[in-house]
C-alpha cells in the first residue's frame, strides 16, 4: 500500500466528521484528535516494533509487553476509579491472564518466543483482557452500589462478604466474558476477525489464516475468563470491611 493511497483512505474519516456536524452530535473535535492520535501512536509503535523485531532481544520483548500491560491496566481502571487500588488489581489480572495464556501457547508450540510472534499475540490478549476487566469492574461497582440493601439482607442472615456478593461476582464475571463468547459464536459468519483479515491481506493462504484465528479464539476465551475472574475476586473485597460490613464510601 502506497502512502498516497493511505492518505486518500483518510478521507473516510471526513464522512464521520460530516455526520457528526450534520446531526449536531458535537464530536468532530474528538474524531479529529482520535484520528491524529491513532496515526501518531501507530507510526511510533511501527518504528518501535521494527527496532525490537530487528534486535530480537528477550528483555526488549518483555519490556514492550510490560508497557502494554501497564497502559491497558491504566485505561481499564478508569471504569472503576472510585475503587481503591483498582489499577493494581486490573493490571495484575491482565498480567496474569497474559502470562498464563502466552506460556501455554509457547508450551503447546502454537507460537515461538520471538518478538514477531509474542508481541502481536500479547497485544490481542492484553487488549481483550483490558476490555473484559473494565466491563467486569464497572458491573461489579454498579451492582454493589445499586443492590446495597440486598447485600445487607444477605449479611444480616449471617453470610460472609463473599457469600453475600456471590451472585454479583458471578454476574460481573459473566458481563466481562459475554462479548468474547458472543463474538466466538458468530466468528467467520458475521465477522472476519482482524487477525485473519490481516493475514489474508498479507497473502497468507485462508486455510492457514483460519488455523491462526482458531488459536486466537481459544486464547481469548481463556484470557478473558482468567482476567475477569481474577479482577472480580480481587476487587469485591474492597467494598467490604473485615467485619463483613458494606463500606459506606461507595
Amino acid at each position: 500500500m502506497s502512502v498516497l493511497s493511505l492518505t486518500m483512505a483518510s478521507s473516510l474519516v471526513l464522512i464521520s466528521i460530516f455526520i457528526s456536524y450534520y446531526q449536531k452530535i458535537g464530536i468532530e473535535k474528538e474524531i479529529i484528535i482520535g484520528t491524529i492520535r491513532a496515526v501518531v501512536q501507530l507510526t511510533i509503535v511501527g518504528y518501535i516494533l521494527h527496532y525490537i523485531f530487528s534486535a530480537n532481544n528477550v528483555l526488549f520483548t518483555l519490556a514492550m509487553v510490560t508497557l502494554m500491560i501497564v497502559v491497558a491496566g491504566n485505561n481499564a481502571s478508569k471504569r472503576g476509579k472510585e475503587i481503591p487500588k483498582v489499577f493494581y488489581f486490573i493490571t495484575f489480572s491482565i498480567a496474569l491472564s497474559a502470562t498464563i495464556t502466552i506460556s501455554l501457547l509457547i508450551l503447546f508450540g502454537n507460537i515461538h518466543f520471538i518478538p514477531q510472534e509474542v508481541i502481536p499475540v500479547s497485544g490481542m490478549i492484553i487488549g481483550n483482557s483490558m476490555v473484559a476487566s473494565g466491563l467486569a469492574i464497572s458491573r461489579l461497582k454498579d451492582d454493589i452500589k445499586n443492590k446495597s440493601e440486598e447485600l445487607e439482607v444477605y449479611l444480616s442472615l449471617g453470610a460472609t462478604s463473599r457469600q453475600a456478593a456471590q451472585k454479583i461476582i458471578k454476574t460481573s464475571i459473566k458481563t466481562g466474558m459475554i462479548p468474547t463468547v458472543d463474538s466466538m459464536k458468530t466468528l467467520g459468519i458475521v465477522q472476519l476477525p482482524g487477525m485473519m483479515t490481516g493475514l489474508i491481506l498479507g497473502g497468507v493462504d485462508p486455510i492457514n489464516a483460519v488455523k491462526y484465528q482458531i488459536m486466537v479464539t481459544f486464547m481469548l476465551a481463556s484470557t478473558v475468563a482468567i482476567s475477569c475472574f481474577t479482577v472480580t475476586f480481587l476487587t469485591y473485597r474492597t467494598f467490604f470491611t473485615k467485619q463483613h460490613q458494606l463500606r459506606q464510601a461507595f
Partner: protein
Amino acid sequence: MLVDFNTKKGYNFNINVTVVTIEVNYMIEIEFKNVSYNSFRKEILKNITIKFGKGKIHTIVGPSGAGKSTLIKLINRLIDPTHGHILINGVDIKTIDVIDLRRRIGMVFQKSHLFEGTVKDNIEYGPSQKGDKNINVEYYLNIVGLNGDYAARDVKKLSGGEQQRISIARTLANNPEALLLDEPTSALDPTSTEIVEKLMVYLKEKMNLTIIWITHNLEQAKRVGDYIALINKGQLIECANTYDFFTNPQNEITRLFIDGKLKEEVK
C-alpha cells in the same frame, strides 16, 4: 441449644402452642452506652444511651432522616459506632464474632428482598451458610402463619404480605434471640399489616424475642409496642412505655411529634 453471651452456658425449653411446638430462646437485653455515629463527617447519631429490655417490643419512631435505621443497623454490626459501646447482656458486641452476632440478632427490612427461587430456598439460606442443611421449613412457615405447601412455591408468585412473612420466617430460621425490623409493614396493605403486627406480638410472647422495630405509623406504635423511643436529628428525645409516651409526654419535641408538627430532617 444456644449459648449465653455472658456465661457461655446454654439452655433451651419448649412450649406447646396450637400450631407448632416452638423452641423458646432465653431473652437478651441490648444496651447503648454513649453511642455516636458519623458518616462523611456528618453526625447521624449523637451520644445515644438507651436500654432495650429483655423480651419486650421496643418501637423506634421519629421523622425521616432522624437516624432510626442507622440505630438498628448498629445492633447487628452492619455498621459500627464512631464512639461508644453497644452491649448485649452486658457484653460488648465487638467481642462477639460478627457472623454469630447476626445470626443471633435477626433483621427484617422494609422490602422483603427474597432471593430468586422457592420459599424453601429462602428459608434455608441462613442456616445453609453455616452448613446446616436439615431445616424444618414447615416449622418456620407455621410460625408466620403459613402452611407447609408454601415451601415449594416460587417467591415471585407471592403477595407482598406473604413475601414479608417469608422474609420474617427466613430470619427466624437462624433461631435469633432478638429481632430488628426496619419499617416491616410500610409497603403492606392493612390486612397484611395486621398479620405482621400480630406476628410480632406472637414472637415476643411465645418465643420471648426482644424486638426492636421502626415505624412511621403512630397508631401502629400504640397497638404493638411495650416501649417507644423518639429519635430526632440523631438524638434520643424521649423513651418511655408506650402508654406514658402518648398520654404524658415529657418533652416538647415529643408533643410536637405526636401532634404531627415535627418537621422531617432533610438528608
